[in-house]
């Protein structure tokens, strides 16, 4: 869907969705506005992960850490200093990207599961620091009641702010993937050995991708603070990171928009199944298994395959990957 050149024809449905989202808040009850905003934030997080997971085949298993670092940075700047708000908003993603650079620098020397496990152990250390450092991060209680300036304090305004940032980020992510850098990243994913042979610095490319992805995760963290006004160590816990991975897989990790679909499904399930039963993880598990069996390429992947069968070569790529491992 996003493979060809951008033509106006393919832009109008995206524009239509955008307009629908713009007019929703005044019509919808507040709670649904809130949930859609949660979906926006989670979508951005999943999209940022998929830049490395789906498009780079880098097993970024602890992506939540960078989300949390972004959120904590802005929360600490807003509560502990008198710096203007925008500095916090910029510092969040930058801090996340720096954490990404640091952890990524250690991890890119490894591949696949080893990469993922080293990242989980390094990420868990950061989680443990945040969890324990009572005087600075508030420990496991977290920081609550983060002051938001009036233009962002109402739910509808926060919604529009998040929506606009999300759109900008999506456009930038899309352009990155379409750039030579993005193509190289996908080429590395599909055949790392060949890329190395033609003189691509695989590790540097991967590290760069990680830094970009963690920067966007930091933006998602900032948006989380705008929406919730709270931060807490659960944001950096491995369970959340695994959930984000699952959003990508669920939505379709070889597609551009898949992670957003996955995030929407996960947030919606969590919220609305939780209303009816306390066994909502059971329901979630069963739904996941059904999706794995019947939609192996994820929801978006399935959708694209149905609509445009010749576009997807997912099966082919999969077998290539198995060989590559």
């Amino acid at each position: 869907m996003f493979r060809g050149t951008i033509d106006l024809k393919s832009l109008w449905p995206t524009g239509a969705i955008f307009i629908v989202l713009l007019i929703l808040p005044p019509i919808l009850p507040r709670f649904y506005t809130y949930i859609i905003a949660v979906i926006f934030v989670t979508s951005l997080l999943a999209m940022s992960l998929n830049l490395v997971l789906g498009h780079g085949m880098i097993f970024q298993f602890h992506h939540g850490v960078f989300y949390g670092v972004g959120a904590y940075t802005v929360a600490l700047i807003l509560t502990k200093t008198s710096l203007p708000m925008w500095i916090g908003f910029i510092a969040g993603p930058i801090a996340a990207a720096m954490a990404g650079l640091l952890i990524g620098w250690f991890c890119v020397r490894l591949t696949r599961l080893y990469f993922g496990m080293l990242q989980i152990s390094l990420g868990s250390l950061i989680w443990a620091i945040v969890f324990r450092w009572y005087s600075f991060t508030g420990g496991d209680d977290g920081i609550h009641g983060i002051p938001m300036p009036p233009p962002l304090s109402s739910l509808n305004n926060a919604y529009y702010f998040i929506l606009i940032i999300l759109i900008i980020c999506l456009v930038v992510l899309y352009l990155i993937l379409k750039s030579p850098f993005g193509s190289t990243l996908e080429a590395i994913r599909d055949n790392p050995q060949r890329c190395e042979a033609v003189g691509v610095n695989v590790r540097r490319h991967q590290l760069m991708a990680i830094v970009i992805a963690t920067f966007f995760a930091g933006i998602a963290g900032v948006l989380f603070v705008v929406l919730e006004g709270s931060v807490f160590p659960d944001l950096l816990f491995w369970v959340l990171s695994l959930e984000v991975c699952i959003m990508c897989l669920l939505g379709g990790w070889f597609t551009f928009a898949g992670p957003m679909v996955g995030a929407s499904i996960m947030v919606a399930l969590r919220t609305f199944v939780g209303i009816y039963t306390e066994y909502w993880t059971l329901v979630l598990g069963v739904i996941l298994i059904l999706l794995i069996f019947f939609l192996p390429e994820g929801v978006m992947g399935y959708f694209l395959e149905k609509v445009k069968p010749q576009a997807e070569e997912g099966a082919e790529r999969r077998s290539e990957l198995d060989v590559a491992s």
């Binding site: 629908v20 919808l28 420990g139 209680d141 009641g145 807490f232 919220t271 694209l304």
Partner: protein, 407 residues
């Protein structure tokens, strides 16, 4: 692709239309009082969440016989999974979608503090019934948050008062490495050191929450030979501590104080394995105080759920009655009037009269200090030689609260 996007748009519009229809329906004229419960029903804390829910149900069954202001009290529950983000979004759902009149619940102090900040902005009363962080009604307290459970300041002071009367000098502090553990250890040590300036802290050990293997910690503590040990732990870690204290032989040799060591939910599964002689503080036992009020509560609870109530059930039962009495006193289904009415309200609870202190919205609860002991009539250990510390004596004063909030 074109067709696909059209489908997406149609679906989105249909969902939007459904929402609009659903929410523009005419509202019901007469409505019951709605209470939203956010609590943890999964993972290790579930045992407490379920017990609390049963206690609350029992209270509502009694209250709804005659009703409050001509209406019944209804409730709806949400599972937080002990996670702050989920708890917060569940609380928002209850407030914004279900329009609950009162929020209650939470075991996790993190969830309680996050929700407390949210209800402050939304002006919805929130009654915390298990979370023990002293910051909920202390430093971070405000007009809309209440607590019907004992908190770390209260329990820590009770422990400090109790230990100050003992001859021990050299202490070791060990516990779960999270804010509950640190808070309670800190509160106990602060009070003990104030009451008995000669005490000495030999060292501290902290393990991760839920650590399955505590033997290395306990053997290391034993090797240091302290006079007494303060364990700051709770829930399932408590059972692990008691088991390890028994197997390493520490329980017989070194005096131990743990808040909630005498909790039935912990001692019952241990059965004959429970160590004897461990000092514990607790704010409720189904077998103590041996008063008609408590007996009646225990009997009603046992008939309804087949087991005796634990401390969460007691807190939740009180919470139910506080809500009913406050609405009666307020005389209207109004959140502001409800808050005003709840301040300083006194109710008859199973442990006697309990007051909701007006200055910090903390229920004044007596604390029972006891020692674990096996008795012939039960197949589990109970708390014995109970000394009751009156709530007023172990709570921080209103001035201290003001000072904490002033910061």
């Amino acid at each position: 692709m074109k067709r696909g996007t059209i489908i997406i748009i149609v679906v989105l519009i249909a969902i939007a239309a459904a929402f609009v229809y659903y929410f523009t329906r005419p509202p019901k004229i007469v409505r019951p009082i709605k209470v939203g419960i956010i609590d943890c029903y999964s993972g290790p804390p579930a045992v407490f969440g379920k017990d609390a829910l049963n206690g609350f149900k029992l209270a509502l069954a009694e209250i709804n016989k005659e009703g409050v202001l001509g209406a019944k009290i209804e409730f709806t529950t949400r599972d937080t999974k002990f996670k702050v983000d989920i708890g917060l979004s569940m609380a928002k759902e209850l407030v914004m979608r279900e329009n609950v009149d009162v929020l209650v619940g939470t075991i996790s102090s993190g969830v309680a503090l996050a929700v407390s900040d949210y209800v402050r902005r939304e002006k919805v009363p929130f009654i915390v019934w298990i979370s023990k962080s002293e910051r909920i009604t202390g430093q971070k307290g405000h007009r809309y948050v209440f607590s019907t459970g004992e908190n770390t300041a209260l329990a820590g002071k009770a422990g400090g008062v109790a230990l100050a009367q003992k001859p021990y000098v050299k202490y070791w502090i060990a516990g779960d490495d999270y804010s509950y553990g640190h808070d309670i250890a800190h509160a106990a040590w602060r009070n003990l050191a104030k009451l008995k300036p000669g005490v000495k802290k030999m060292g501290e050990s902290w393990w991760k929450v839920g650590e399955p293997d505590l033997i290395p910690y306990l053997t290391a503590i034993q090797a240091a030979k302290p006079d007494a040990v303060i364990f700051a732990t709770g829930g399932r870690s408590m059972a692990n501590v008691l088991k390890a204290a028994k197997t390493t032989g520490m329980a017989g040799k070194i005096p131990i104080w743990i808040h909630t060591a005498t909790d039935h939910a912990v001692l019952k599964p241990l059965g004959p394995e429970a160590p004897e002689g461990v000092m514990g503080t607790m704010d409720y036992h189904f077998y103590y105080p041996d008063t008609p009020a408590n007996k009646a509560f225990v009997k009603a609870f046992q008939d309804a759920y087949g087991e005796p109530p634990g401390f969460p059930a007691f807190h939740a039962y009180m919470t139910g009655h506080f809500i009913a009495e406050a609405f009666k006193k307020a005389g209207a289904l109004d959140k502001e009037k409800f808050v005003d009415a709840l301040e300083g309200l006194k109710i008859d609870a199973p442990v006697g009269e309990v007051e909701m202190r007006a200055c910090d919205h903390q229920a004044v609860l007596p604390i029972f200090l006891g020692v674990t002991k096996k008795v012939p009539q039960y197949n589990f250990a109970i708390s014995s030689d109970i000394v009751t510390l009156s709530g007023k004596d172990v709570m921080p004063t209103c001035e201290e609260i003001k000072k904490a909030r002033g910061k």
